[in-house]
């Protein structure tokens, strides 16, 4: 019995060797690969939650990063600030890209491919007219009618993910409504990613008059999933791209087509 007690006491002393916190200096990758661009990525470090962590000695600006496509290996050139580029490698559609480098003693790898350019991307209107509303003008006499939504359509036989982003390209923004004391909204808004072959822009989504660029991205499911997230759920812990091994961030291919629409004052 004494021996047992002694044994137990010994164990108590020997079992507290596990650390309280643990931090791994993972590489964070941020890269959207689009056809026509030079192949480029950005590597950063994460911000730790505890103050006494040890970063790896590796220089984030001087990594040997290789990318393999069509069985050819390319080595990226550092540009500083964690940015890397290969000026001989121009991204092309339907190509797979394998990224690899070493950071903090780990082999970091990532993979993506470039989806096809959206096909038959078209819009139901190239311009719409909206009534200006402000606190001084009051409601228009006799009311007003809202124009029909702008319908965007494209081919999507495979039920892939598409994401439409609408951006006002004017240098000076001319608000449609009076925003009062509120912060003025951004000049960009987006639609939810969809696997359908159409989406519609409701006229009240436009905040400013002028020329708008409508970009339809053909995205991969890993990117589309970012928009399904709930910021208060534990999905903030989700690695945005699961194709990255021993690292975090986003490394995804995409392809886009662009249309324009004019928002005029009625």
């Amino acid at each position: 019995m004494r021996a047992l007690l002694l044994l137990s006491v010994l164990f108590f002393y020997s079992c507290n060797d596990e650390g309280k916190t643990e931090f791994t200096d993972w590489a964070i990758i941020e890269s959207y690969i689009r056809p026509g661009d030079y192949f480029n990525i950005k590597v950063t470090r994460q911000l730790p939650f505890s103050s006494d962590v040890v970063y790896s000695m590796d220089d984030i600006n001087n990594l040997t990063i290789s990318v393999t496509c069509n069985d050819t290996v390319y080595y990226l050139t550092p540009l500083g600030e964690g940015a890397y580029i290969d000026s001989s490698l121009i991204v092309t559609e339907n190509t797979e890209y394998y990224l690899s480098f070493h950071f903090n003693g780990l082999a970091v790898s990532a993979f993506t491919y470039i989806p096809a350019k959206p096909n038959n991307f078209s819009q139901s209107a190239t311009s719409i007219s909206l009534t200006r509303i402000d606190s001084t003008s009051g409601f228009p006499i006799g009311g007003f009618t809202m124009p029909d939504p702008v319908e965007l359509t494209w081919d999507n036989p495979e039920n892939d993910y598409y994401l439409a982003i609408v951006e006002n390209v004017e240098s000076v923004l001319d608000p449609i409504r009076d925003f009062g004391d509120n912060t003025p909204p951004s000049n960009i808004f987006r639609k939810s990613p969809t696997t359908l072959a159409a989406t519609e822009i409701r006229t009240q989504e436009f905040q400013y008059y002028g020329t708008h660029r409508i970009i339809l991205y053909h995205v991969l499911p890993d990117y589309a999933a970012l928009y399904n997230e709930n910021t208060t759920s534990s999905q903030n812990l989700t690695n945005p791209s699961s194709s990255i091994g021993n690292g975090y961030g986003i490394f995804t291919g995409l392809n886009a087509d662009t249309l324009y629409i004019e928002v005029k004052e009625q």
Binding site: T21, F23, Q46, L163, D181, N236, L237, T238
Partner: protein, 998 residues
């Protein structure tokens, strides 16, 4: 008494011939000087413990003449009786008779049953019935001395049946049976010879030759006071290794009983070891043995070794712990006597999970522990966040925990089995009782209806006492929140407390109705229903404002959890023959859990416009299990028992998990049939030293459309009376699993899911167990080592995004495998006023999931060291107990850092990295509990024997107020992460009043 004190003893043999011995009682000249003759065919020294017949001769007859003329002693019915021949010469017959009580008192001193088994036969025709009546009325000592007195004048020589009947010895059981309930015996009683103290117990009353040899005895073990059948009691032929165990309905069959005058030793936890002296006249079938609760025998350790154990590790079985709720109150508890908590004090069962009544056995999870309540499976054993078990100790009779290597008759689980047998209810007397604590009210009643029906109903409900609120507060302001860090640029934060309105309760109802139409049949209906409603909603008016642009911010959160169980079984058991027993059971078990954890946030800007955002988690789980099964036990011979059975189950399990009340993340509804059978044989070899239990179980599972074979075997070998070697190996499958939904921020949760054989595979395990135990009457030392491999584990995690090729949320199930290994030590003192045990477990449980890492990582339930010490001390009416548990910290996964990604629309999103899976550990867990119970007694103070009517208990949980961590919660609010420690209960006193009326 006066006479007795005046007597001076003169005893010595004059001569001995054919069992005759001659004595003289009192000095010459005393009015009670009697030269008498004692005859006893056995001539043994235990003569005083036999039935006595005092024979008074005819007037003026010599003692020799009386002896010669008497033929009673030659009758076979009186074989073994002691005959005392009293001369009827000199003095009057009345004088002689008046001396007899003193003589009886002398001769039968220390013989408990003398009042029942001492008879008087008067051959003097001058004595009439009226004389006897007068004696009985005028002399209390005479009335007490003889059970019956017969006059020769009343006997018709040709018909002695009346005489035989009058002089028939009474067995002791009938006498003791009147004493219903538990009794407290005052240890301060001065008179050591007081029969009330020293002579409870069965007494040998037959001394004749045996009439049967090597025969089979079958019967039943029951509680003496309530008539409850006692399952899993051990029946041993004294001085041999011939033994058996009663089954779940208390029936037993004992082969090769050497003679029908052998002595049986019956042992059952919480009861006194009872010696039963067989006689040729006792039945050889349907033989009923009655056991008394151990507390009735406080002072009788000198008569029989009274085991004081509260829980025991069974010597004859591998990895089995047995417990009777009867003695549970002696252990420290948290408001309620709790069987599951008590098991957690034994080696191999983790004690550091206050929030789970479910058992973590040998690196297994609670869902891998099969919980059978009267034959039906219980899927959830928690009340009030797991601080209390769903089982009301007042409704339970027997609990056994098989920690591993279990038999083929159990299936569908990977780790262990908890077999719970509910009480049938008192068959003799209506009684009821209540337990009131700071947490709950518990009432019960046992209602017999006629001879054949018994019933028990128990009801328990929590009320909002201080203890209840304390536990509830664990989820709110009681926890320590601290800002860990914040991403650059984020606004500052701080601590705040939240107000919780508690409108929560739990209740449970147990009922059992037992009908015994014949001695061979038992039909019982058992019902179990328990529900928890936990409303932990928060409503905050105004919180400190966050950031610059949010002038006002209000927040209300709904956190409503409702879960419960409903289960019922209808069982018919029949003892078809002394060798064949079977039961068939139809059961239904339902578990449901609905959780709504959502927040409503209202932000109001300076112009009074408000925006409302709703988000949260909605989780529903509903499990239904309809089963039928039949189990048979065939005692082939003294060396072998064959058990076989068949079963069929229809499962129906639903699980939905939704976020933001519209986005259903997971919606599964699986149904499947599971059916099969088993065959196992318990065989003894080498003079019963080696017990071998091989078996096979096979199951067909509809979802995977496969047949699963589970071969298993266990053995134990008794090296000698004290050392036993044990070993087991077996394969186990599990079809319904509680899958862990990984949630690093708010704590992982589990839900029941049915295997589909694909994304959620059928899990399997292989056990290897070896052990050795050393047991004396007083001590148990045992050690067991185990190793088990597990395949087909499932976890659900939303931490991993779809790959570029895309995977639907429905498929975020990840499969892995694992192993658990460890070694357990137990040192237990079973006897004496101070008893208890020390246990130590060195264990490891590791899993491997490709998605988490390439290596094995510690499983959530991995605990390296567990040390437990339990001491129980009895002092008069007080029962003291203390326990201390130590467990090394469990692993967890924590957020470790943050990074920002710019999205295509120009916005940025913040993400958090986590440590590698379960790579950080919570601090070590340790805790001390104390309790003291004071027995409440009925009757007059000063009486040496008083009925126990309950107790007042005072207990302290976590005496030195150790802050033990349950888990960590992380909240991300406006770019910052807040870490909250959810702690277990601190210093918590409790008072329990338990009363029962017999």
């Amino acid at each position: 008494m006066r006479l007795f004190l005046g007597f001076i003893l003169l005893t010595f043999c004059v001569y001995t011939l054919d069992g005759q011995q001659r004595y003289e009682f009192n000095r010459l000249g005393s009015e009670c000087n009697l030269k008498y003759l004692v005859y006893n065919v056995m001539q043994d020294k235990m003569a005083y413990k036999r039935p006595f017949v005092f024979v008074v001769g005819k007037p003026h007859e010599t003692i020799d003449r009386t002896f010669m003329d008497d033929t009673l002693r030659t009758l076979p019915q009186f074989y073994g009786y002691t005959f005392v021949y009293v001369p009827n010469e000199g003095g009057t017959i009345q004088d002689k008779v008046s001396c007899l009580p003193a003589m009886v008192s002398w001769l039968t001193q220390g013989y408990k049953s003398r009042n029942n088994n001492v008879f008087l036969f008067i051959k003097d025709q001058g004595v009439s019935t009226a004389d006897i009546q007068m004696m009985q009325e005028s002399m209390v000592s005479f009335k007490n001395a003889f059970r019956s007195a017969v006059l020769a004048a009343d006997i018709v020589p040709s018909n002695t049946s009346g005489l035989l009947e009058s002089f028939k010895a009474t067995s002791v059981e009938e006498e003791a049976e009147k004493e219903v309930g538990n009794f407290y015996i005052d240890e301060n009683a001065d008179d050591p010879a007081d029969p009330g103290i020293s002579s409870i117990g069965t007494v040998k009353s037959y001394f004749g030759p045996p009439s049967s040899y090597n025969y089979t005895l079958s019967g039943m073990i029951r509680d003496r006071s309530s008539g409850e059948a006692l399952p899993f009691a051990t029946i041993l032929v004294k001085g041999s290794s011939i033994a058996t165990q009663s089954n779940v309905d208390g029936y037993f069959t004992l082969f090769k009983v050497p003679t029908d005058t052998s002595t049986l030793v019956i042992s059952y936890i919480g009861y006194a070891n009872e010696e039963v002296f067989l006689t040729p006249t006792l039945p050889k079938q349907n033989f009923v043995v009655l056991l008394s609760p151990a507390s009735a025998l406080l002072k009788t350790v000198t008569i029989a070794a009274t085991k004081e154990d509260v829980v025991i590790s069974k010597r004859e079985d591998i990895s089995v712990i047995k417990m009777t709720p009867k003695k549970l109150e002696q252990l420290p508890n948290l408001g309620e006597r709790d069987i599951m908590r008590s098991f957690q004090l034994m080696p191999g069962v983790s004690a550091s999970n206050e929030s789970s009544s479910g058992l973590y056995v040998r690196g297994g999870t609670p869902d891998q522990n099969l919980v059978l309540y009267d034959g039906f499976t219980v899927y959830q054993v928690d009340h009030l966040y797991g601080f209390y078990s769903a089982f009301n100790a007042n409704a339970l009779k027997d609990v056994q925990l098989y920690k591993g290597g279990f038999e083929s008759r159990f299936g569908g689980r990977l780790s262990s089995v908890t077999e719970i047998t509910a009480k049938d209810g008192n068959q003799k007397k209506f009684n009821y009782g209540t337990d009131i604590s700071l947490l709950s009210l518990n009432v019960w009643a046992e209602i017999p209806m006629g001879e054949k029906i018994s019933s028990i109903i128990t009801f328990r409900k929590s009320y909002k006492g201080p203890l209840y609120n304390k536990i509830f507060d664990k989820f709110n302001s009681d926890n320590t929140s601290s800002m860990v860090t914040q991403t650059p640029g984020g606004p500052g934060g701080g601590r705040f407390t939240q107000n919780t309105k508690v409108t929560s309760y739990f209740y449970d109802v147990n009922g059992k109705f037992t009908y015994r139409p014949t001695a061979k049949d038992v039909v019982s209906l058992s019902i179990f229903n328990g529900t928890d409603k936990l409303d932990n909603s928060i409503d905050n008016g105004d919180l400190p404002s966050f950031g610059d642009f949010t002038p006002s911010f209000s927040f209300s959160a709904t956190d409503l959890t409702q879960y419960g169980n409903f289960g019922t079984s209808l069982k018919w058991s029949r003892k078809w023959s002394p060798k064949l027993y079977g039961n068939t059971l139809v059961s239904y078990s339902n578990f449901f859990s609905n959780r709504d954890r959502s927040q409503e946030m209202i932000r109001t800007n300076s112009s009074g416009e408000s925006t409302t955002t709703n988000n949260g988690i909605f989780e529903n789980n509903n499990l239904k299990d309809v089963s039928i099964k039949s189990d048979y036990q065939w005692d082939v011979g003294s060396f072998s028992q064959v058990q076989f059975g068949a079963y069929a189950t229809q499962y129906d399990i639903k699980y939905t998990y939704a976020q933001n009340d519209t986005a259903t993340v997971l919606d599964r509804h699986d149904r499947s049939f599971l059916g099969g059978g088993y065959l196992q044989s318990r065989t003894k070899f080498f003079k019963d030293k080696l017990h071998l239990l091989p078996g096979i179980r096979l199951s067909y599972y509809e979802q995977s459309d496969k047949v699963y074979y589970e071969p298993r075997a266990s053995l134990n070998y008794s090296i000698d009376d004290r050392f036993t070697l044990k070993g087991a190996i077996g394969k186990y499958y599990q079809f319904a699993n509680r899958v862990t939904r990984e949630d690093i921020l708010s704590g992982s949760k589990e839900f029941w899911l049915l295997s589909d054989g694909d994304a959620v595979p059928v899990s399997s395990a292989i056990h290897y167990i070896a052990g050795i135990s050393y047991e004396t009457n007083q001590w148990v030392v045992s050690t067991e080592a185990y190793y088990k491999t597990i395949h087909g584990l499932t976890e659900y995690s939303l931490r991993f995004n779809p790959s570029p090729q895309g995977v639907s949320y429905q498929e975020n199930f990840y499969s892995g495998n694992g192993y658990a290994r460890g070694i357990e030590f137990l040192l237990q003192r079973k006897l004496g006023n101070l008893n208890g045990w020390i246990s130590y477990t060195l264990g490891e449980a590791r899993n491997h999931f490709d998605v988490y890492s390439t290596d094995y990582f510690p499983a959530n339930q991995d605990v390296r060291h567990e040390f437990k010490i339990v001491g129980l001390y009895k002092l008069k009416r007080w029962d003291f107990s203390a326990s201390w548990v130590y467990a090394s910290g469990r692993p967890y996964t924590a957020p470790s850092g943050a990074y920002t990604v710019t999205l295509l629309d120009g916005n940025t999103a913040d993400y958090f990295t986590v440590t590698s899976k379960n790579s950080v550990r919570l601090p070590d867990y340790h805790r001390m509990d104390l309790s003291v119970n004071y027995k409440l007694l009925a009757g007059i103070q000063g009486d040496h024997k008083r009925r126990e009517i309950g107790y007042i208990g005072f207990s302290i949980f976590n005496v030195y107020n150790r802050t033990n961590l349950w888990y960590k919660q992380y909240t991300i609010e406006d770019l910052q992460i807040v870490e909250t420690n959810i702690n277990y209960l601190g210093f918590t006193p409790n008072i329990t009043l338990s009363l029962k009326h017999w």
